[in-house]
Symmetry: C2
Subunit: 294 residues, 2 copies
């Protein structure tokens, strides 16, 4: 297996897949020497290189986990060199564009299945990787034109690394993720920026878990999120406008002393949050996945 | 000690104070029979009653932990019956109004020190209480006109239950808490409402820790937060308007494809969050307080 972009997700996939006996030899690709060293250090790869084409060799699986904005370039680069019959899959946070690029750029001699593991933390790099990262999480898949046996094989591999595969249409993926992941991220960042601008010193002493949890994911990788907001701009904008509207309602209700309206907003939020994790839907209600972020 | 409003905080204070040998006998007050039974069940009180005046007896400490909106009424009710020389303290989430009410309503024969433990979870009731709830947290105090020896005594008691006392001016408290606690709460609720309105079914399967953590505190008690937003409306509005402004900036930057501006907002948020828990300030950077909410 070649892992192009062997950061936290790529290295974790490699570790988990090796542990499960799904893959044997792993070649990791990273531009930075420190990342390559880290990947080797945690045992995620047998070999590392900065050369994408060299890494391909006769790989049966090519796992592309680079920020969405770099995905197109990687596809263009690998397309002429992909071993016939290999499976190409990605771990990009948006799927519509990525799947379109794959259909346009990758040769028909290979299979492409878009992927998006619902795992990862606000940390990054192979040093933050773990073979257990996918345990109890959902792993979204967009098989597109891939043949059923290839999809079945990937689904089985995903189960063996501890995750639950779930097939979804790429456009639907992006619409839903705008609410389930991109908006929460934007909100965590906006909240952090608003608090930063207040200039209050030593605010942690005046806070407990609320501040910590609502802002946690704001610490995540900037490049990755810049690319996500660009790649899924329409859906992210729609979700953010919906958020702005609720914020406006809160402001209006507090300004006018409309206690009932404040209470009604609080109650809607409370009910939604209580239901969210109330009925375990397979693996997803796990309280164990204590550090996932996107 | 009399604990008026023996919910999660009141019951936890009783448990912790008993464990530390700070108080002996505890009389709990709650309107609901189930709450009284729970408080007795978890060993937070020796006796429970619905009658505030009856609970006072010859208490040396009167701990008032009711929602801020109910505080004034409780002060009016207890004022004529407070044993001379006792210490009255509260656990209300805002302090300016509460300290004003105490100064107006409580007799000069007693000492009042406003309090606000930076602890608590999104759960409520004595069943969610714990003697360890205050471990490693800050406990804010507004001594006002209380004599220094009384304050010193309360500070010592707070240290013995595992928290770090921090004296703060009531107005300053409310201004800071608007950013460190009230805005994060409003944002978590607004985010939950926006997602609820999207009508997406089974969204948890398309999410990881980001959604879970950013929305967690939205599950908290509605009455308590309605009162907080009312009691601290000006500061909450200022903070919420600041949040709205950042949200607007995000929308504009994504709409116009201004990638640099998106990146700059992400970078500001990331830097703020990374610094927030980077330098341990006493007890407050503890990652152990995994469930605190306000």
């Amino acid at each position: 297996m070649a892992v192009i972009g062997i950061g936290q997700i790529g290295a974790s996939f490699a570790l988990a897949a090796r542990r499960a006996g799904v893959v044997d030899r792993v070649i990791g690709v990273a531009r930075k020497q420190t990342t390559r060293d880290e990947a080797l250090g945690v045992g995620a790869a047998d070999e590392c290189t900065a050369d994408v084409v060299e890494a391909l060799g006769d790989a049966d699986i090519v796992y592309v986990s680079v920020p969405v904005g770099a995905m197109r370039g990687v596809f263009e680069q690998i397309a002429p060199h992909l071993p016939a019959g290999c499976l190409v899959t990605d771990a990009g946070s948006t799927k519509a564009e990525v799947c379109r690029w794959a259909a346009q750029l990758l040769p028909e001699t290979v299979s492409f299945i878009g992927g998006h593991p619902m795992a990862g933390t606000e940390k990054h790099g192979p040093a933050a990787a773990s073979a257990e990262l996918f345990d109890g999480t959902t792993y979204l898949l967009c098989p597109g034109r891939a043949a059923q046996p290839v999809t079945t094989r990937l689904e089985s591999a995903i189960r063996r690394i501890g995750a639950a595969p779930l097939v979804v249409d790429p456009d639907q993926h992006d619409t839903i993720l705008a609410y389930s992941s991109h908006l929460p991220h934007l909100v965590a960042v906006a909240l952090s920026v608003a608090i930063a601008r207040s200039g209050i010193e030593g605010i942690v002493r005046f806070s407990a878990g609320g501040l910590r949890d609502t802002t946690r994911i704001a610490a995540a990788d900037v490049d990755m999120w810049r690319d996500i907001f660009a790649a899924n701009s329409e859906a992210v904008l729609a979700a953010t406008r919906a958020m702005r509207e609720v914020t406006e309602e809160f402001i209006e209700a507090i300004e006018t002393g409309d206690v009932q309206r404040v209470e009604s907003l609080l109650e809607t939020g409370r009910r939604f949050r209580e239901k969210l994790y109330a009925s375990p839907v397979g693996v997803d209600s796990s309280e164990g996945e204590a550090q996932d972020s996107d």
